[in-house]
Amino acid sequence: MFQSFRLSMTWVHTWFGLVLGYVLMVAFFFGSLSVFDREIDRWTIPETRFPAQPMPSFDAMLKPIFERLQPEEEELEEARARVGGPLPDAKPVMNWSVYTTHRDPVLELYAEFAITNNPKDPDDHVHGHATIDPRSGRLLPNDPLKVGSEFFYPMHYSLHLEWMELGYWIVGFAALVMLAALVSGVVMHRRIFRELFTFRPKKQEQRSVLDLHNLTGVVALPFHFVFALSGLTIFAGVYLPVDETMLKPQAQAHAMQEAKARGLAFRPAGVPAPLASVDAMVAEAKRRWAARGMPGEVGFLWVHHVGDANSYVSIYRAGSDRVTLVGQAVHFAGPTGRVIFEEPPPTAVSGINDFLTGLHLQHFRHWLLRWFYVLGGLAGCACIATGFIFFVEKRKRQHAAQGVSGARWVDAMAVTTVTGMLIAALAILVANRVLPAGLAHRGEWEKAAFWGAWLLAFAHALWRTSPVRQARLAPAWAEQCWAITTLGVAAVLLNWITTGDHLLRTIGNRYWPVAGVDLFILASAALAALAAAKLVRRGREVPAAVASGEDSPTGDVEPAAPQAARVAS
């Protein structure tokens, strides 16, 4: 089919990269933002702008709150539909859990309540959750949308396409294609080491765009490869759900076996029993961690079979100083507080799996490495964006001569996914600061602002890329860059006006979550302005340049790409 292996690899790289590149762009950009999801949450929910807190006392503070927790009304609605009738009044609590990291000022509490009258599923249950201020135990409203961790972060792996888990599949397929694109890219690239540092911004734009594509692709190659791979392993359960389908009985048996081996009860005994002091268990767990040479804080605490004689409490160590997430669990008998089982160090296989998961989900305390992740993500964005631009630049003259509009459509989609995505991300932040506080379904309106802005950006991109059909530079790029600048400055000003937290104050107080987001937005706005100004200048030069057979527009579109991803942090 192809004359050589290299040509066939080029075909794969070009076409799969083009089609899935749009998805990868979204995954990379929102992944980069997710590195600082908690910080974006602080920006969007000003009531929670206070320093991170350790896990508070369970006995004194958390237990009474857990006891008052109720199932979510929405979930009850769905459960009624599953059962096909009313639910019993008593919805026994199955378990309680609470999770925190070194970046969380507020604490989220989760509970599962059994639905006992579903004949089809004896394990049917619904959830309840609460957000508290761990300094006082005060309940915070659950409603505000956590833009970082509940919107940007799920966007990264599911595109918010929940129907049939379609989003997970698309992103998963894109990750697979990413691996293929990396391998085929390495095959196509003849001089990886000789040209590792090569970037020639003054050469003609096809060359300099390709240089930048190679540069950002190659220097962050280990990052790209490991993140695409670990992303796939994290969701292996979604992509290969054998535990839920073919092998469900075996998986169940395995879980029971494992619980038995640890002396942990898989099912409640049905006999009520009180819960011993969990604070004492926490103290014992900390003592054991210290004895193993790894003193630490509680990251995750889980009470199973609440109120039952078989209840047990699992206490996991926060992995702030490790790559792996929580670990080193110690399990205690609920009624007595006696240690049942202390998890041994993980086996090699699960150790590797934990490492890959932890490396990707990064809950560790290491600000430099966090920023490096952002850098890797943005390098990915730049790599993809320059790929699009190269595609357009290579073909636009030929397409213009033939009268086909392929390059124009690719350019329009590229504008939408590069600058349009930034506009959408800034729009949700602006909406978050502008919408009235008491508005019903405020979070839904914020999401509407995001999707609406993106749709507008798409329409604008379609309209303002028509010059590509005459092989000219699309004005859409520069115009959307200006929109980014305007929205970015507006977001920072609005944050000041509505909360009083201007940069001098946040930096003065060393309150980096908000100061960092503000600075990041301003940096993106400045870069966008720079890119826009250059683009406009190039746009004016181009008609003459085309006539004389020279060119250069997109060499400078490029700055839009790295900056593209820099919107928030």
């Binding site: 000789r194 590792l196 540092f197 090569t198 970037f199 020639r200 911004p201 540069l215 950002t216 220097v219 962050a220 280990p222 990052f223 100083d321 490790r322 790559v323 792996t324 490492f355 490396l359 560790f364 290491h366 430099l368 490495l369 490096f372 992740y373 850098l375 890797g376 390098a379």
Partner: protein
């Protein structure tokens, strides 16, 4: 602080490796190629600096974290060197100021 030293080692090490190549040497020092002995020295120095960077990372962090920081510092350093070579190549001149160029013209 140790980490910043590690970052500096990565960047400088990569710059030396880059300058061991004719093209980049010429961007910094003009039309002449580096002397052969200088090329070897730059490669050795570059490799040593990268190794020093890894050691510093291992001193600063837990064993599981250090390689990640190191690999990413290489990515960051390579971008830095590439951009410096593209826009302000003279900035790298002090790194090779003491090394001789070859007598004849390049290539």
């Amino acid at each position: 602080m140790i980490l910043f030293a590690a970052l500096a080692c990565s960047a400088v090490g990569l710059a030396w490796l880059a300058l061991a190549m004719d093209v980049h040497w010429q961007q910094v020092r003009g039309p002449q190629s580096p002397a052969r002995s200088a090329v070897t020295l730059l490669r050795v120095l570059g490799a040593l600096a990268l190794a020093a960077s890894l050691v510093l990372c291992l001193v600063a962090d837990h064993l599981s974290m250090a390689p990640l920081v190191w690999v990413m510092s290489l990515a960051g350093g390579a971008l830095l060197v590439a951009f410096a070579l593209a826009w302000k190549p003279r900035l790298l001149a002090p790194l090779v100021a003491w090394l001789p160029a070859r007598g004849g013209p390049a290539d």
